[in-house]
Symmetry: C2
């Protein structure tokens, strides 16, 4: 409120993952000026984690010229609730119950803090700096260890009445199908179109066709990785390529359902699985188109994210800051 207030120039992005927490200071063009990371599971309770995080944030803030230049903090976290700024019962974190993380960080740092789940943050990042610039209706889907998603409609992120909308990885696409290792739901998208899902599909195919030669057979089936399947597919291995075709089919059928829900201009894919390029994109688009009503056919762009993968999580989290209402920037 003071007359001499310096214009706010930077946003802090914090991405909390089950393994690492990454944080950075970002400008409006999406350049990451400072970067730090810490090991999430090292901290037994949220208080110890926030202590360690704030040490790093202060270090970075000093390097860019002081807290007056920071507009706020955006946090992406599993099961993050935008409305309450809490992390609620996140299965991949050690901290139990409901953790009021945005408040804890905001109080320690004296900066407005917004929090949402990591996949929603990715969508805001895509809208602010990436492939969805200027779009008002799109969906981002991260195909990594799990399947995350963020939905933007009418230019706004869809949070739902409770802040948890956009769990597309857990929609059922094969009722009665493959049980999910963690949720136990049967036939969810994530059970197929994630790194774990791809490995399970390859194992099933190798076991179902024991006579069929495959480069994958040189690996221990129990230790097979999605990276190995990708490498073999690129070298022309038939079973490995069939794994991608099947994964693309499941993903494409799911995308068709999502299109009939919110009719997006584009679906932006992100994450390890899309490194396979046309091996995954071609069957995905084919099966999406095949399952669409005529009014939706040949309209929806299925594209790669153009955010740097290393920075994307921080960029997404930081983008929450630019979306903050002016009033929330002063505590």
């Amino acid at each position: 409120m003071s007359m001499t207030k310096i214009p706010l120039e930077y946003a802090i992005g914090v991405d909390i993952g089950g393994t690492n927490t990454k944080c950075g200071i970002v400008n409006r063009r999406g350049e990451v000026l400072q970067y730090e990371q810490l090991s999430t599971p090292e901290y037994e309770n949220p208080e110890a984690f926030v202590d360690a995080l704030c040490v790093r944030l202060n270090l970075m803030i000093e390097k860019v010229g002081g807290i007056e230049l920071i507009k706020g903090i955006g946090v992406g976290a599993p099961n993050g609730n935008y409305y309450t700024g809490t992390i609620e019962y996140a299965p991949n974190l050690r901290w139990v119950g409901v953790v009021p993380l945005a408040d804890m960080i905001s109080q320690r740092m004296g900066l407005a803090t917004a929090l949402t789940n990591d996949a929603n943050a990715a969508a805001v990042g895509e809208m602010q700096y990436g492939a969805a610039k200027g779009m008002r209706d799109f969906i981002t889907i991260t195909l990594g260890t799990g399947v995350g998603s963020g939905i933007v409609a009418n230019g706004q992120l869809i949070y739902g009445h409770d802040g948890f909308a956009g769990e597309l990885g857990h929609t059922i696409i094969r009722p009665g199908g493959r049980p999910h290792w963690s949720t136990k739901l049967k036939g969810s998208l994530e059970a197929y179109a994630s790194a774990t899902g791809v490995v399970l599909t390859a194992r099933e195919m190798l076991l179902n066709e024991p006579e069929k030669p495959s480069m994958l057979r040189k690996y221990n089936l129990e230790e097979l990785t999605s990276k190995q399947i990708f490498d073999c597919a690129m070298q022309g291995d038939e079973i490995s390529q069939a794994v991608y075709r099947f994964t693309g089919q499941i993903l494409g059928e799911s995308l068709a359902n999502f299109v009939m829900f919110s009719s997006p201009e584009a679906i932006i894919l992100f994450g390890g699985l899309i490194k396979a390029g046309s091996l995954i994109f071609d069957p995905t688009i084919e099966h999406m188109e095949r399952n669409l009503l005529p009014i939706f056919k040949n309209k929806v762009k299925v594209i790669k994210s153009d955010l740097h993968e290393a920075d994307a999580a921080i960029l997404g989290a930081s983008a929450l800051v630019w979306e903050m209402k002016q009033s929330s920037s002063s505590l």
Copy 2:
């Protein structure tokens, strides 16, 4: 813009169906003051239809006190596009291609005219006058001859980038399953949870268990109706009740997917199928809950529309008028 402008008090609602077009004049409380209807397929081309419609609208307008009292016209129509005001390739109408119906009506009547698909209109009606009053996140699903839907998130109807969002009846819930009689898509929700779908399920069950006694066997299988199945179910007929359990399962699994998309506060059901009460609601809710992630369980209300069925289509269409921007009310 004139200083003596009389306050606009009424909205006109027009619901165009494959069989009948219903129109009425409605006040802000959702009371239908005037009502007319005409046979849609009687008119070979949209021009003849608009002529006949406008005769009726003018008749009603005169009865309520003149055109100065009318704020605008809302139209619900199959394949109606909100952004362009056009009906595009509607499979149930005789008129081919893209029909600029909102413009045609607006020019003839000198009143601002908004148009959307009938199911979206129903959602706006539910928000304005019905069970969704005060809600910002909900989904309405009409279980009638077909399955229609309207999605509201952040207090706004989701139109999608092209105006066609919310075709939930055509999402696939049984990949490779029952082919839809019109779209040819396999395993869509509408193929099961519509009046036609219920009849197909009953026929399948009667043929699959030829030894099992059922009241339904007294009817000609080719002429079976959903009304007969409902009556037999109410009288305790086992196969008829199994038809509702199966239909509810499919619907419930679909609802779980929709919840994981937009996390609505409520799902509001409407249409002939829900007359079966707990016969359909119980299995629907059971299977929805069973397929939800823990964070969504026991949160989403599945409720009946509280709009009068006879008036609902007109109310929904008229509600579009109250949503119009002030500027669009003067042409």
